[in-house]
Amino acid sequence: MSEISPEVPDNRQDAPSHVDPNSTRITKPGVKRLVLTLSVLFSLVLGFPFLWKSVEIYRSSLPFGEISEMESNPSLSFPCRFQAVFINFNSNPSPNHLQLSILDKITELTSNSSQCGACANDLALSVTVDSISSCTQTHPTDNSNYYRCGAISAVDFDFSNDDDDGVDELLESVLGVKNVYSVVVVNGGGEGIRAVVGKYRHAWIVGSVEEEEEESVLVSRVAEIFVKMFVNGGTENGLIHGEFMPVGADRRIVLSFNLLNAEPNDWVYDWDFQRVDETLLAPIIKVLGPIANISVESQVLYHTPKSSFSYWDEKWKSYIFSTKDLPFFVNSNEWHLDTSIAAGGRSKILQFVVYVPSAKECPLSLLLPTGEISKTNGFISPMWGGVVVWNPPGCLNSETNHPSRHTMSREDLQAVFEVFMGQFRQLFGLKSNNLYIGASGTYHLLPSGKGFTEWELDVLSRQFACFNLHSCATTLGSLSRLVQSLPRMIIMDEIGKLVQFSLEAAKLAQSNASLGDNESSAVSSGQARSLAEDAFFHPSIMSISYYSFEHCFAIYSPFFLPVSMHVLLAALREWKRYKQEKAKYTAWKAKVKVES
């Protein structure tokens, strides 16, 4: 609208001169400025959702429901398949009766332990009574390769108790089946009852049993072998604690063997480790494959005295250190054992130390609290490793004026490594005796050349699978709680993938376990744990780098606050002005209307 008003009659010409510009105006107020400011404000407001989306925290979605479900129930159920074979029992006891009584005894022994790895749910037992005249069997619920009648007869057994290994091999050739544990009870031989547990998955009891009452003794011994040996692995309650799971989070163990020469000025010893590694260690490493990925390192160190003191004892003709000195034996200031290159950040290192004492302290022996000298002259520290003190031969009488270089003889090295093998077993929580004293009697345990018997490996696989699954569940639970408590933390895709793979591996482990496959269940559960730990310890989960609200505000407010302030205030001002001018115009129009 132009400001020039159209032609109006003269009497109207006077009207403008009475117009008060503060309260009336003649023309309609312009809307250009208002439209301009409002459009700027509107575009600012329109852009706000885009800004919001662009500063959104990227969080990969984690399956919280599945994680909490697994955390509440991280257990594995392994099936147990047992069989008992009674040979040469002329009284012909009924197999069903025997089966019931053995099962009763088994449930009695396992009643107080309901932890992972025990046979609480899935237990099957088959009993065979085989004598010359007849052979009766209970019918097993699922048809695995159970014992065939007539495969073993009493004449095969050597009752002179000499050749345990031979009997073991024979039984293995007859009974050797994965996942089934067997006990063979033979009537005959001398008096008394002798029980032996073999290297594979069977045991045998030999004795002359004629009366009926002794049957219950046999039943309890059979049940004890099943529960205490094959299920629990010879430990008290079957549960191996966390202190005896020396496997790193990435499923690796590094065994570091160190030969320490305390005083090289007296003598220097070297060893042929290569051969030991190939002959003694390689089979053990292969056998423990499902549980951990083991690598071996060795080194020889010099000038490494111990930091405890010893005293000369005339009775034992040697220097004595006692068990009270053991915490101070390992002189960590001078023993630089931690120089491993192979070990990654999350592997576990076990140190095995052979300590060669100086001439001033040789021979050095360990005095046990019972007052005897230790036969193995060594000790272990759980989760750290073991130490063996090896005294050079003839050290009491030798000349020590000149330093001499020697190599440890093969027999000495073998003896030392046998002790190491025992220590290694103890680090896994297994006992190193060859005699087990149970509630019903004593049992002889046959040792295996590979360090671990097959039933012990089964026990270890099951325990490790349980431990790994439990650890995986708690780690994932911690991760999900952490992620939910920090809603503004970035979670990368990689973490989401790791969690997903970990849950899949855990499910695989559970299904493998219910099928009875110990090894693959240990492998999958180990992978599950390793993936869960990778996710939890991912370097991007750092609280110092997530976008807290203060951080966001501090970055964006200097840009947007002043501008938005200006725009808003301008829009408000224009709106106010428009309203004022509009009011003025309507007032004038009303006045004109009134006047006309």
Partner: protein, 314 residues
């Protein structure tokens, strides 16, 4: 720096090996051009003991001592290539002693005069450490298994012990001085010396260290000269004793103890607060300070400034 090195030596004397200690040291003082005794650091004005001498293994030094690395050490979230000696390799059953010295204030700690660590970040990290070692335990209260001690209460200042006018700086603060005196009285091989000092129990040097107790919190800050806000925190107090009788090797050695020591006090910083320079020092005064603190305050000021202008223009 002398505080940290003193405690480091004490801890090593009591039997903790280097592989169990993480030392984060901003080791700028020993070889600084202004140090009259090059490559030597003392904690007493009689200069009897050179702390920076031999057998000091520093894991993080210089610019590696920052808040991010510190939190990474505590939470264990390192990049894959970080070597084992720079990691806190603790597991369930570990006791951890954390000693920090430097400047700090209400709810924060200073790193190298350029960064800060907020107390809630530190609390989260410590909670993470406890959780990692304690997710087998049943109590989930905040800071279960953690004991912490500081050199002064909130609102108090922490002061240096004495000044060494030869070198020109204060060499040790009171808290550290008395702490070290306490440790000097401990004999590693003697159970009696410990049980006479504190409460009952055990054998083993690492457990003795683990028994050292006290009270907490971060002190109030400036003006705080060479005071140290030493927060000693200790996790998982239950000492473990195991014994395995048997024919073969018997008893066991102690649990693992890892010590994280850290000094992030940066002496010659350009932004040393004027109040901190003691009169006897030969270092010229510098006018410093400035906006070291990142927080709401400057932004709020700008904001208010703008608003006042705009409202005035309405």
């Amino acid at each position: 720096m002398a505080n940290t090195l003193s405690l480091y030596r004490t801890v090593k004397r009591l039997g903790i090996p280097d592989e169990r200690i993480i030392l984060m040291l901003v080791d700028d003082m020993a070889c600084n051009a202004r140090n009259k005794y090059p490559a030597q650091v003392f904690n007493n004005e009689n200069h009897k003991l050179n702390l920076y001498g031999d057998n000091v293994e520093v894991d993080y030094h210089g610019y590696e001592v920052n808040a991010e690395n510190f939190l990474r050490v505590l939470t264990g979230r390192h990049k894959a290539a970080v070597p084992r000696s720079k990691r806190l390799l603790s597991d369930e059953g570990s006791h951890i002693l954390l000693y920090m010295t430097g400047h700090g204030g209400d709810e924060f700690l200073k790193f190298q005069d350029s960064e800060e660590l907020q107390s809630h970040d530190l609390a989260d990290a410590i909670q993470g450490v406890v959780d990692n070692g304690g997710h087998l335990s049943s109590c989930h209260t905040l800071f279960s298994g953690v004991l912490a001690i500081g050199s002064s209460m909130k609102g108090e200042n922490s002061y240096s012990h004495h000044l060494d006018s030869d070198v020109g700086v204060s060499v040790v603060d009171r808290f550290t001085f008395y702490t070290l005196a306490f440790f000097e009285k401990l004999n590693m091989y003697d159970n009696a010396s410990l049980s006479s000092q504190t409460s009952p129990d055990p054998a083993g040097a690492s457990q003795k260290l683990g028994i050292f107790l006290a009270w907490v919190l971060l002190s109030h800050n400036p003006p705080l000269c060479f005071g140290s806000t030493a927060a000693i925190q200790q996790y998982r107090m239950e000492p473990k004793t195991l014994s395995w009788p048997g024919i073969l090797p018997i008893p066991v050695y102690s649990t693992s103890v890892t010590v994280v020591l850290q000094s992030f006090h940066f002496l010659q910083s350009n932004s040393v607060n004027v109040n901190c320079i003691l009169p006897n020092r030969s270092i010229p005064k510098k006018i410093g300070g400035g906006m070291e603190v990142l927080g709401f305050s400057p932004i709020l000021l700008i904001f208010l400034f703008y608003i006042s202008i705009l409202i005035g223009s309405l």
